[in-house]
């Protein structure tokens, strides 16, 4: 790492948390850290202070490929009128969890 890189600060990491009652890891925020191990500890200190989590993932923000807001229409609009893709014709019994 060059002196310039040190001065410019640590890279950004995105934090995903699985809560006690959650089923999936959920994006909760981001933080700065020098490497993934430090990011994990920072995530523990920043995002699990209120007893939220049982599992943490950290991902370098630079490693995430995201869809662009400019492509919103071609990406998502075509599915807007295809009602037959939605399972709206069933009644879900009240005692079926996690739907």
């Amino acid at each position: 790492m060059t002196e310039d890189q040190v001065r410019s600060g640590w890279p950004l990491y995105e934090v995903f948390l699985r809560g006690k009652r959650g089923l999936n890891h959920v994006h909760v925020g981001s933080l700065h850290a020098a490497d993934p191990q430090m990011a994990l500890r920072h995530a523990r200190d920043l995002y699990t202070r209120r007893n939220e989590g049982v599992s943490i993932w950290v991902v370098a923000a630079a490693d995430i490929t995201a869809s662009s807001p400019d492509e919103k229409d071609p990406f998502f609009a075509p599915s807007g009128d295809k009602v037959y893709r939605h399972p709206t014709f069933y009644d879900i019994p009240a005692d079926v969890p996690h739907m």
Binding site: K20, H32, R41, H42, D45, L46, N51, G53, D95
Partner: protein, 294 residues
């Protein structure tokens, strides 16, 4: 929200009255269901003195860490250190409360924290040391948490059930403190020549305070089965420090232990000069407004 959706949502919040997704729940009182009477055969005055020693270590160390707030190099590190300071403050509160109960003179945690004078504090002199830089902060925290974790690991099976419960809870916190400090000592020691030099120098500053942690005292000797022999912690401490220092490419310092004054040190109420200033800052508000609540 439809009824179906609500049912599904509710099923996610199991075993708790609190259905708010965003907040953690299930906080537990570590002392729940544990009687506060002093067990038969245990010297109550000695137990009070022992809890005071361990509580003072945490109270004074926590205050030193709090003084780092707004001075840390990164925001994330600041939160990490604040968490550690809060953990220690929590330990201090439980231990001072226990000391007050065992003493039986009606003093609570606040009375003990804010209305005792310097010579009545029983913390080791390591706790009151002022960290000159980040390397001293990391090195001192490694020494303190490795020692305290070894101690509390043994106290988890203490004959006093309250002390045992406090120790069991605190040991989990201390394991994280030790891990936090160790990763910084390794990072700095095995980093650049500059960071290595500063980390090695910091250990040299801290090391004279290490021997006191393992010296016998009269209170511990009066509490067989309740307290843990300080000398018996040395092997575990040396093992942990050896592992970390090797990974950090650092040398174990050869240092002359800080002298006792007329045979006394922190456990006997003899402290170093900075202690008075620390105590003034810690106590001045409470003493200016006694019995204030907020």
């Amino acid at each position: 929200m439809t009824e179906d959706e609500f049912a599904a949502y509710q099923s996610l919040s199991e075993e708790t009255e609190d259905h708010r997704w965003a907040f953690g729940t299930g906080f537990a009182d570590p002392l729940e269901g544990i009687g506060t009477s002093v067990p038969d055969g245990v010297d109550a005055a000695a137990l009070a003195a022992y809890c005071l020693m361990l509580g003072d270590d945490a109270l004074i160390y926590s205050h030193r860490l709090q003084q780092w707030m707004t001075r840390m190099p990164e925001l994330e590190e600041e939160t990490a250190l604040a968490n550690i300071a809060l953990d220690l403050l929590g330990q201090a509160r439980m231990l001072l409360s226990r000391a007050g109960q065992a003493e039986g003179r009606g003093r609570d945690e606040d009375q003990l924290a804010f209305f005792r004078d310097e010579h009545e504090f029983r913390s080791v002199r390591l706790a009151e040391h002022t960290d000159a830089d980040f390397a001293e902060l990391a090195g001192r925290l490694l020494v303190f948490s490795a020692w305290r974790l070894a101690l509390f690991g043994r106290l988890a099976s203490s004959a006093d059930p309250v002390l045992a419960a406090i120790a069991a809870k605190a040991a989990r916190e201390l394991a994280y403190h030790r891990d936090y400090a160790a990763q910084w000592v390794i990072r700095l020691g095995d980093g650049t020549p500059l960071s290595h030099g500063k980390m090695q120098a910091a250990l040299g500053v801290i090391w004279p305070l290490v021997d006191e942690l393992f010296q016998a005292d009269l209170v511990t000797a009066a509490l067989p089965g309740v307290a843990a022999d300080p000398a018996g912690l040395r092997a575990e401490f040396d093992g942990v420090l050896g592992t970390v220092l090797a990974a950090a490419t650092l040398e174990r310092p050869q240092a002359t232990p800080l002298a006792r004054v007329a045979g006394k040190a922190g456990r006997e109420g003899v402290h170093t000069e900075p202690f008075g200033y620390l105590l003034a800052e810690l106590q001045s508000v409470a003493r200016a407004h006694p019995d204030a609540t907020w």
